[in-house]
Symmetry: C2
Subunit: 657 residues, 2 copies
């Protein structure tokens, strides 16, 4: 199998070439390897007390004829196993583990045993509704599920060199290639939940077989064409939805939710289910570059700009409403009812990295970093066994219980859910973290994320071993050191200048140097020698962030950010209600350590709070103006919230000005 | 028929004795008489273009065998006609109208013709599901519908002296009395939607027949007993809900929604569907007084206090969530997602007047006034043909369209809905407005609302004709003038001292006098002579209101109230976004007329607004602190909002302090 050459401006380095060694990130990587992956395996095997059973393994056993029984779970339950296998593949690529390999191989044997002769595999349809196969792509996620199989297969192949799962994936993909497409006799259809589009590109990249690239292009460009495939499919099945059973629907639902309301090239704003959207945009960006398709790239840029400049929360999360886990509209960013699904930020990271490969612009990496350091890691508890699906900007625990419009907002992380999309998604992202640190072109190594690691890379006519050390996110120093170099050593190190660092300086071997900075990257071309060290000095001063005035929810409010980390107030460090406090516009922001541990930086400020009005404590409305008293405010990195005493949380703090 | 004597501390005067003549309220009364009642009659007859057909009259024609066809509409569709007839009865009591009487009599003939021999009447069950009668009181509103029939019958009898509809109502009530109750062979059940409980008390009051009082007591005290009637009924019908058809429900729903989770005497806080709750509390208060039941009265006081001091919006509206149109929990008063149904404020007025009859305390009338002057009248457009069901505290029209969590919040009043509860409820409240102005005891006339009218009343051994004139809500003067007096003239005039008037003074025949003030009422006992005039001078200075600090939504915000009227900002008088403005804590509040007309008082203030940041207009988050500029602020009475150019609206304004 030959890896295809690529038209990307730059490419990520192979995951197995990157050994992460970082005081901040290594614990996350280890947590995934040592806790999350085993825990999720237990979950897949229904071995976690008090958690909803997944039944994923059992469904495969039934489909393979090894066990009698009924299918259980969601129609896309298989993806739990696939996402787990993908994470395992990533993990094995840098941390070989014979025991884990054995478990994964057995799971793969089970999948292979369940696969139909024609290549089709989906335990729901095989066990529960064999006559309904491929009759409802709109609702039933069959190609979404196939996409996760493909991604798992590629990761497992790249991590272990083993081809069994890749063969299963290719067999199913070949079946789809034959059946779906623009040719006479093929079905001009596509899936309700985008995912296979980006997966097919990975399959193309690992196999070199252009039919997978072409099928991905077909799915992307067919979407939103008229007459609508979804509408015709709906008519064929008697105007019924999988989710509502035998009820004949009066109206065909609006196609915005599925991003199928118009051809993707014509889409101007991000709409609908946020995860589907960013998975689709990821594939669009891949295709735009691989096919040299400027029109498609322009669509990606428009959609990117709409998200990032109009619909993204300050923690890099997206999806303003839990109704359909969806985007709403420009500047609608409510803090206490947002969805901001962990998976959607993961998808935004996928999209960002592709855009970065198309165009070297710091904003893409800024957003990637914002989503990673804030939302993705907030999604997982310190123990690796509890997760946030929803990442709120403000939590009032009583309201999460007592107001049905906020039931989706959890004040504490939850165990494995029935619909367990986020936990395995976090696991696969963190176990493939290495792929997001660098990309490289012919003679340039681009550093996007300052996550410590050692890597080998070929640049120009040289082969270099480079160690990245980083004191982020707590301290503002990162360095690239040339550990070894073969060849002439002439290449460029391009390092990102984060937008949060308002004064970034650089030194080589201890001497400050002036950098050429273009679009958020500083470029250093020279003859690099063993032992050379390029250091980047970041301005770590905590800053106040203000929202665009169209964001109604944040009027008069300020968020705090230091380095890549967004901060929040938690009740336990402050007072209840958190809304009673204000931060004076001129208050100094001090750094405090020793609360969490000696590294984690809290922010401390002299704030004020509304005094408790004991005279009117039984009065709901009073003409007495509230009195103020001094209140020390303490902010914790958002990503760590909810790990101590449960209580209120608030990102956007009222400012006194 | 003898009117029963009553154990109420005071009683409303008969509606027909009160001729409203008030520059503020007469237009509303006339609007109901001349526009709303005819318009709603057209609605009942499906004669309004572009509005959802009601089918109410047609359903009765089919049930009466006068027409062939199928039932259409909600299971409680009959109540649209009953509520209309009740409003007609009220209206005819003070404004006889032969044409309207003829139309109403024909409608009553139709109802009588539709009634079953055993007394049962409900067109849904008679036409669409005769075998399902009284099998699902939990969902199907049969006694709720009966309650509205009874209320209509009482009003029509009191307004016209005609007994035909009263006979229909008694016949149905008699049937229910026989079938439901605590005796062996009777069903220990009650309705899912409270309403019959308060209606039966009216029927008792007009007929003197204690069996209706007893049935009401039974319904109230049976509610919430264990084992649960609703649960047993649910089991009997195979665990199905009327609203979801043949679906077998996994879980029996939580009974809080129906206020049936525990015996009503033990209920501590207002929960569940807000309209059902306040209709029930109204009946509880009636029963507490009529039966001299202190325990029940204590429950009423607890529930009152919980609503008014923890769960009521500043416009006198209730129901913090549209999920179930329900209460949520203490201090949860979101401004942009509240339900605050017009009907619920009407029910709160019912409850308030009963509490006032039990205990002469200004707070009850304060709340009655707050709900009436703000929410109830906000519910109806100036043209009498458009209605708000939801009364939001903050509107962003784009969010009402673009954020599904706010779809229920309408930026403009709507035509008659399919579920048309609020319009006929507003009509019946406004056409019976006279019943809320006064109550009287043996020798005291209590004035609760300053709405101009002339009335005759017997007080002690005197009979007096009294004219109340009022310049409210625009100016702070009201007077009671003795137009005529027979007998010794020794009686007490007790007038409410509104909590919003921080400096109220009194004069008799122009001379200031000191009043004895107890619990919000000033008492004037003397020998009243013809021509005597008691004047009340209110402090009309506009005030700022602050919320209890537990109300997260209003932190740092201020509402404006002048007299009984709460104010709001509308976009057309100010700027967009409205959240960009602030009101300095020391800004003077000036009164302005001539904008709406020469009477309506607007409030004008020197505010500030966040300058548009043209430098960062494409940036969602920026470190640049917002700049301020001067902004004249203009506030309009909340009750009038949404009658001019549609746009944003905001009650709680950010304060600069």
């Amino acid at each position: 199998m030959n890896k295809v050459s690529s038209a990307f401006q730059s490419q990520p380095l192979p995951l197995k070439n990157i050994a992460i060694n970082d005081s901040y990130w290594t614990p996350y990587v280890e947590l995934v390897k040592n806790t999350v992956i085993p825990y999720q395996w237990d979950a897949l095997n229904d071995a976690i007390p008090d958690a909803e059973p997944s039944r994923a393994i059992r469904n495969f056993r039934i489909a393979a004829g090894l066990e009698e029984g009924e299918f259980h779970g969601f129609v896309f339950q298989d993806t739990d196993l696939y996402k787990w296998l993908e994470a395992v593949g990533f993990s094995l690529s840098t941390s070989p583990d014979p025991d884990l390999t054995k478990i994964a191989d057995e799971a793969i044997d089970l999948i292979a045993a369940a696969q139909d002769e024609d290549g089709y595999i989906n335990t729901y349809f095989m066990v529960a509704a064999p006559d309904k196969r491929l009759t409802n792509l709109h609702d039933c996620h069959e190609f979404y599920t196939a996409g996760h199989l493909i991604e798992a297969a590629v990761a497992y192949y790249e991590g272990t060199g083993k081809t069994k799962l890749l063969d299963v994936a290719k067999k199913f993909a070949d079946f789809i290639c034959l059946t779906y497409g623009p040719e006479p006799g093929q079905i001009r259809g596509y899936d309700g939940h985008q995912e296979i589009e980006l997966a097919l590109i990975k399959l193309y990249q690992v196999t070199g077989d252009t039919k997978y690239l072409d099928l991905s292009s077909f799915f992307i460009d067919e979407r939103g064409q008229k007459p609508s495939f979804f509408r015709e499919e709906w008519e064929r099945r008697g105007r019924k939805s999988f989710w509502t059973g035998d009820v004949v629907q009066k109206h065909f639902p609006s196609l915005e939710y599925w991003q199928a309301h118009k051809p993707v090239r014509e889409q101007e704003v991000a709409v609908g289910h946020a995860v589907r959207a960013v998975y689709m945009y990821t594939a669009m960006a891949d295709l735009a570059i691989l096919n040299g398709d400027q029109e498609l790239l322009n669509a990606c840029k428009r959609l990117w700009n709409n998200i990032v400049h109009k619909q993204m929360y300050v923690n890099g999360s997206i999806g303003s409403t839990h109704h359909g886990e969806a985007f709403t509209f420009d500047y609608d960013l409510p803090n206490d009812t947002n969805y901001s699904e962990t998976c959607a930020s993961i998808g935004l990271i996928f999209f960002a990295r592709r855009m970065l490969q198309a165009e070297m612009k710091g904003e893409y990496a800024d957003v990637m970093e914002r989503a990673l350091y804030n939302t993705v890691t907030a999604g997982i508890a310190e123990d690796g066994k509890h997760y946030f699906y929803v990442n709120p900007m403000e939590v009032w625990p009583e309201a999460s219980k007592g107001n049905p419009g906020k039931h989706h907002v959890k004040a504490v992380r939850q165990k494995w859910y029935g619909c367990a999309c986020c936990p395995p998604n976090v696991a696969r992202l963190l176990s493939s973290l290495g792929s997001y640190i660098f990309t490289s072109s012919e003679d340039t190594l681009y550093t996007h994320l300052y996550i410590g690691n050692e890597t080998q890379v070929v640049l120009g006519s040289s082969k270099a071993t480079i160690e990245l050390t980083s004191e982020l996110p707590w301290k503002g120093l990162a360095s690239l050191q040339i550990q070894a170099v073969e060849g002439d050593g002439i290449f460029t190190l391009a390092v990102r200048v984060p937008s949060w660092s308002q004064d970034t300086s650089f030194s080589v071997n201890g001497e400050e140097i002036t950098a050429e900075i273009r679009d958020g990257y500083a470029y250093f071309k020279r003859t690099w020698k063993q032992g050379d060290q390029l250091s980047i000095h970041f301005d770590m001063q905590a800053r106040r962030l203000y929202s665009h005035s169209n964001v109604r929810a944040n009027a008069g409010r300020v968020a705090l950010q230091r380095g890549p980390l967004v901060y929040c107030l938690e009740e336990m460090d402050n007072v209840s209600p958190l809304t009673s406090v204000r931060l004076p516009a001129d208050a100094e922001i001090r750094e405090v350590t020793g609360i969490w541990n000696d590294e984690v930086v809290f922010l401390e400020m002299d704030g004020i709070r509304q005094e408790e009005d004991t005279e009117h404590k039984d009065t709901l409305y009073s003409t007495a103006p509230p009195k103020q008293e001094a209140q020390r405010l303490l902010a914790v990195p958002y990503t760590l919230w909810g790990n101590r005493t449960p209580g209120e949380m608030q990102v956007w703090i009222r400012e006194q000005s």
